[in-house]
Symmetry: C2
Subunit: 100 residues, 2 copies
């Protein structure tokens, strides 16, 4: 993915589409990477969120997310770039790891 | 607050107003108790969420919440009652404790 670019440069639609092909469950919604994760209960959902929080803090890149019981809905965008960047893709992949 | 009632019985508007008078920052929005908490950064916001998560799990009553960086927006309602109950007030107070 766009290895020559800076991680906080906005990606174009083709680059995003190419990356989404390898991220099942994710789509582009209102200019943000979007996915809903479903867990059996709050405990599992919050365990996931805690794992993601540690990764996000280490990346210094944070999600917008909404939780209700076992459901965690996520939107990723790089505010400074006003678009989706490599950082968002990296965080999406980290979330997939955490959802295991 | 309605000490004779069951904690999962819906409260009426007067009971909710009376309780909100002692919960600064909270209001009733779309039939749910609502407040936005602001923290200096993600780390502080997620530390708050973690404290609340432990309390919520112990109460077996969970929030609907949305987090973006240092902001945590919360909506509380008891789904089985289709309204606000004593449990929601208890969770709101627990959140105030956690926000310190």
């Amino acid at each position: 993915m766009s290895g020559a670019g800076m991680s906080r440069d906005p990606l174009n639609r083709d680059q995003i589409s190419e990356a989404l092909a390898e991220l099942p469950g994710w789509d582009l919604r209102d200019g943000k990477l979007h996915r809903t994760f479903e867990f059996p209960d709050f405990r599992a959902a919050f365990a996931f969120m805690t794992s993601v929080a540690l990764r996000a803090e280490a990346m210094d890149h944070h999600p917008e997310w909404r939780n209700v019981y076992g459901r965690v809905e996520v939107w990723l965008q790089t505010h400074s770039a006003r678009g989706v960047t490599q950082l968002d893709l990296d965080l999406a992949r980290a979330m997939e790891d955490c959802a295991g």
